[in-house]
Every structure is written in C-alpha cells, then in structure tokens.
C-alpha cells in the first residue's frame, strides 16, 4: 500500500471511529430519565 493509501485509510477510519464513539457517548449520556411505566412500552393511538 502506498503512503497515500495509508493516509486515506487512516483518515476514513479516524472519522468513522470518532463519529461512532461520539454518537454513542452522546446517546447514552443524554438518555432521558425513566418514563412512567405505563408510558414506557406502549402508546395510545
């Protein structure tokens, strides 16, 4: 693999790993407090 190939691979792997970790951290840390049980699994039409 050429140095340009390595560079492309590192850039794209970096972007994807960053986005995955960042979005999951955000997803877990901002999860709402537990909602009342009656509202948890079902919703009225």
């Amino acid at each position: 693999m050429t140095p340009a190939g390595w560079l492309m691979m590192m850039i794209f792997w970096g972007i994807i790993i960053f986005l995955t970790v960042y979005s999951f951290v955000l997803l877990i840390t901002t999860e709402n407090l537990p909602v009342p049980e009656s509202d948890d699994l079902t919703r009225e039409k």
Binding site: M1, G5, L19, T20, L27, T42, R43
Partner: protein, 512 residues
C-alpha cells in the same frame, strides 16, 4: 389500540443498525470501492454520505416518528398526514410493497449463507479447491443444475424454511421482544465474528512467497485504499458512490419509517440517526473493507477481484481463500454465520412494514398480522425459488430493489420538503434533540438531496431500464417468466392499494 415502543436507546440503535447492516456491507462495498478508484472512491462516498445519505435518513426517521404519533406505522398513513391529498397514501403504498417484494427473495438469498455455514462446518465447502468446483457446488445448491454435489434443490429449500421460520418467529414476537431482542444478540455477535475474521486476514502475510511473493495483505489493502485520482473525473464513480450510500443505509424502502414509528415522541432522532449511520459505516468501511477483498487479493491476486462481482467474492472466492488456511472450516463457518446474522436482522426489518400496516390500519392483533405476512412472503417466495434459473429474482431485484427505491425516495423527499414543508420538518426533526444540526443541513435537505436523488433515479432509468424493459439479451424461453414477474409486481401493488382504499373507507365510516 396501543402501539409498542422501543424499550431502550441502545436497543433501538442496534435494531436500526441491524436493518442497515446487511450482505452489502461485507460484499458490495469493498468491490465497489476497489473497482472505482480505491481510496479515491471514498471522496464521492463521503460527499454522498453528507449530501444524500444522512439527510435522507433523518428525513425518513422524522416522517416515521411523526406518523407514529398518529398511530401509523407505514408510509400510506404517514404520507396522508404529511400531505392531505387522496393520492398521497397510494404513493405511500410503495413503502409497503417494496419491503414485501424485496423480503420475498431476500429471505431466500439470506438462507444461502445459513446453508453455506452448515456445509463449511461439515468441511464440504472448504474441501473444494478450484473455482470450477465451487461454481458447480453453488449452481447445484441453487438448483440450476444437478451434479455430484446436489441432486435437487431440497437442501437449499430446507435452509430457506429454517431461515424463513426464524424470521417469522421474531416478527411475531413484536418490536421489543422480537426485533429489539434479536438485534441485541445478533449485532454484538456479528461484530465479534467480524473482528475475529479481520484480525485473521490482517495477519495473513504473504500466503505463497515462492510463486507469488508480491501477493500479500499489504497489496490487498492497497488495492482497496490506494487512491487513483483519475477516477474522480468519471461521473460513474460518483453515481456508484451515491448508489452504495443509498443501499447501505437502507433508504427508500419503507423500513426506517416503520421502525421510527415506534420511537417515543421526544426521542433524540438526530443523535440516534447519527449513531445508526456510524455503526453501519463502521461495519462497512472498517470491517467489510478489511475482510473479503484484501484476503482475496493476497491469495488470488488483484485480477480476480477486478473481474468478479460482489456475490462471487463472498460465496465463491472467499470459501476458497479460507479453505487454504489452517482451521479453514472454522473461519468459513464464521464468515457465513456473519453474513446470516447480517441477513436475518435485515430480513426481519423487511417483514415488519406489512405487519405494522395490518396492525395499524386494520386493527389486527400482532400474531394474526404476522401470520398473514408469513403467508404472503411464503407465497411470493415460491416462484422466486423454483423459477430462479429463469431470472425471476434478478428481474424483481432490478425493478423493485434498485429503480423502485430511488423512485420512492425521490417522491418522498418532494412530499417532505414541498408538501409538508422543510421548516416544519426541521422543527419536527429537532423535537427532543440534544444537539442542533448546522443550518446548512436545512438547505441540503431542501435543495441538494432532492436534486441528487432525482439525478440518480434518472441515471439508473436512462442507463439500464430501457434495455431491461425490452428484455435485451434475455433467452426467449425465459421471457414468459420475466413477464409474469412484472405482472406479479403490478398485482402486489394493486392489492395493497385496494387494502388502503378499504382501510380509509372504514375510517371515514367510523368518523361519520
């Protein structure tokens, strides 16, 4: 009537990712990248992700959650709420027809990976040493020919039944106890298998140092990543990248909207959408890009990968590669189980829209709806299996799985932007969001994404559809079967349209 909701955020993201991560992540992506400029392909791929993929994904999540608020789990009801015109629900019918028709053949294709996992575990698959042998094995398995490996299609049919029953069982258990639970088990297992295979491929070194000292894993990775900038001047590279993004994120099918209808009203769809897309890209670029193509190049050189398609790479070349390794049967089994897990989570997703349609619009109980869907998928699947050699599967895949998706997505973005209104949609997208998107995405969603989609749709129509429509190159003996497949597509659409008509008439009578 009460509708289910996803039980947890991680569970819902895994379920959405399970829908998106499919066979294409591990097979289609590396072949597309290698054939379209290697590392240079990633530049249009990134553009397509930002301008088409992620905006359309957010649009579909928004439409889904908005429809779910009114008790609609599929696009007929959702489009009716977005655009109060009689035609809107019949456009939305495509969001039920497309997953149903794709599901009818996808379950069969996905069952091949289960069958191949079985034959890999048994040692049969890895005992094959040439392309001629594995080609004969695959053709025998598919029932195209009878040979020393298979005398009939029944082994393949048995695996189809197992895969089919498993999918229907999961669907019948509902969103939380079925789909979400499956995703929580299947997705981590899939990632574990993929990591294991990735490490094995990266440690291959130079498999044949005497005859081919230059064929090694470094060459394989370079084949995929060395940028050939010349390709960027070719429009086909840009279309190929956009097509890949479109397929990999499972856009324009109707499943994302259906899954999103089970979100809480204030779920953070900006972040959840981003997490789903990132998980999918992780599976595609990092794992998918490091297994099949680099391994195939290290063993057989770059020429073979250049000439073969994605399916050949996964089902023919890779078993040969893995068969050459110590404990090859184990790696081959893991490879096909990985494909099966990727397939089953997508197969379940394709079955869900019709279940939701029957539950929401006809007030049918979950199990009864799942039974009807199972009967419909089974009935549609039979001619596809038994008439496989006449090209029925390819025909439905082209009109529904390629052109149909782009057509549906194009109509959808126009309805979202110009009937519902981008401002209202933007507000709806941010309801409950913990971060606000840069305003530029507003303009991308409103102007760039519709233009991009229209361009892809017209390109696909102009380049392939005309020759496909007049059955250019089709054996005259196969033409009646191809024609029957087209009639079946129209009939399925007509049946769903009639069902929509009946459901809405009932609703009006109730309201009156």
């Amino acid at each position: 009537m009460k509708r289910e909701r996803w039980a947890s955020r991680v569970g819902l993201v895994l379920a959405f990712a399970g829908n998106a991560v499919g066979l294409g992540n591990f097979l289609r992506f590396p072949v597309q990248a290698a054939k379209n400029g290697g590392g240079a392909f990633m530049i249009p791929y990134l553009f397509a992700f930002l301008l088409l993929g992620i905006p359309l994904m957010w649009i579909e999540w928004t439409i889904g959650r908005y429809g779910g608020k009114y008790g609609h789990g599929t696009t007929p009801g959702m489009f009716d709420k977005l655009w109060n015109k009689p035609i809107s629900k019949y456009i939305g019918a495509l969001g039920v027809v497309i997953p149903l028709l794709i599901g009818s053949y996808y379950l069969y294709v996905m069952s091949w990976s289960l069958g191949f996992a079985f034959y890999a575990l048994k040692g049969t698959l890895t005992s094959l040493t040439t392309h001629e042998q594995i080609n004969a094995f695959l053709q025998g398995y598919q029932g195209v020919v009878q040979n020393q490996y298979f005398h009939s299609i029944w082994p393949a049919y048995t695996f189809y039944l197992i895969a089919f029953l498993l999918t229907m069982y999961v669907v019948s258990r509902g969103v939380v106890k079925g789909i979400e639970l499956l995703a929580k088990i299947a997705m981590p297992t899939l990632f574990l298998f993929a990591f294991f295979l990735m490490i094995r491929v990266l440690t291959l070194g130079t498999p044949d140092p005497i005859n081919h000292p230059d064929w090694n894993i470094n060459l394989g990775l370079g084949y995929l990543w060395n940028p050939n900038i010349e390709y960027l001047k070719n429009g086909k590279t840009w279309i190929a990248a956009a097509g890949q993004i479109f397929f990999t994120l499972s856009l324009g099918i109707g499943v994302l909207q259906c899954y999103a209808s089970y979100l809480k009203e204030k779920e953070d769809i900006v972040v959840a959408g981003l997490a789903t897309a990132s998980t999918n890209e992780f599976a595609e670029v990092i794992l998918g890009g490091t297994i099949a193509v680099p391994a195939a190049v290290a063993f057989f050189g770059p020429e073979l990968v250049k000439t073969g398609g994605a399916f050949d790479l996964g089902f023919k070349t890779l078993p040969l590669v893995l068969g050459k390794l110590p404990y090859g049967w184990l790696f081959a089994t893991l490879w096909f189980l990985l494909l099966f897990l990727a397939g089953v989570t997508s197969g379940v997703a394709l079955s869900q829209p019709l279940v939701a349609f029957l539950e929401d619009e006809f007030d049918l109980p979950k199990r009864k709806a799942a039974l009807i869907v199972a009967i419909a998928l089974f009935a549609l699947g039979q001619p596809i299996i038994f008439l496989f050699k006449h090209g029925v599967l390819d025909e439905i895949d082209f009109w529904i799985g390629t052109v149909g998706l782009a057509f549906f997505a194009t109509l959808e973005v126009f309805i979202f932007n110009f009937a519902f209104g981008t401002s209202k949609g933007w507000e709806e997208l941010h309801r409950g969001a913990s971060m606000k998107l840069p305003k530029i995405f507003y303009y991308i969603m409103r102007y760039v994404t519709p233009l991009f989609l229209t361009g892809i749709f017209i390109y696909w129509l102009a380049t392939d559809a005309a020759s496909k429509f007049v059955m250019k190159g089709v054996d005259p003996a196969d033409r009646p079967y191809i024609l029957a497949a087209r009639i079946a597509i129209v009939l399925v659409y007509a049946i769903i349209a009639v069902l929509i008509h009946i459901a809405w008439n009932k609703k009006h009578q109730k309201e009156a």
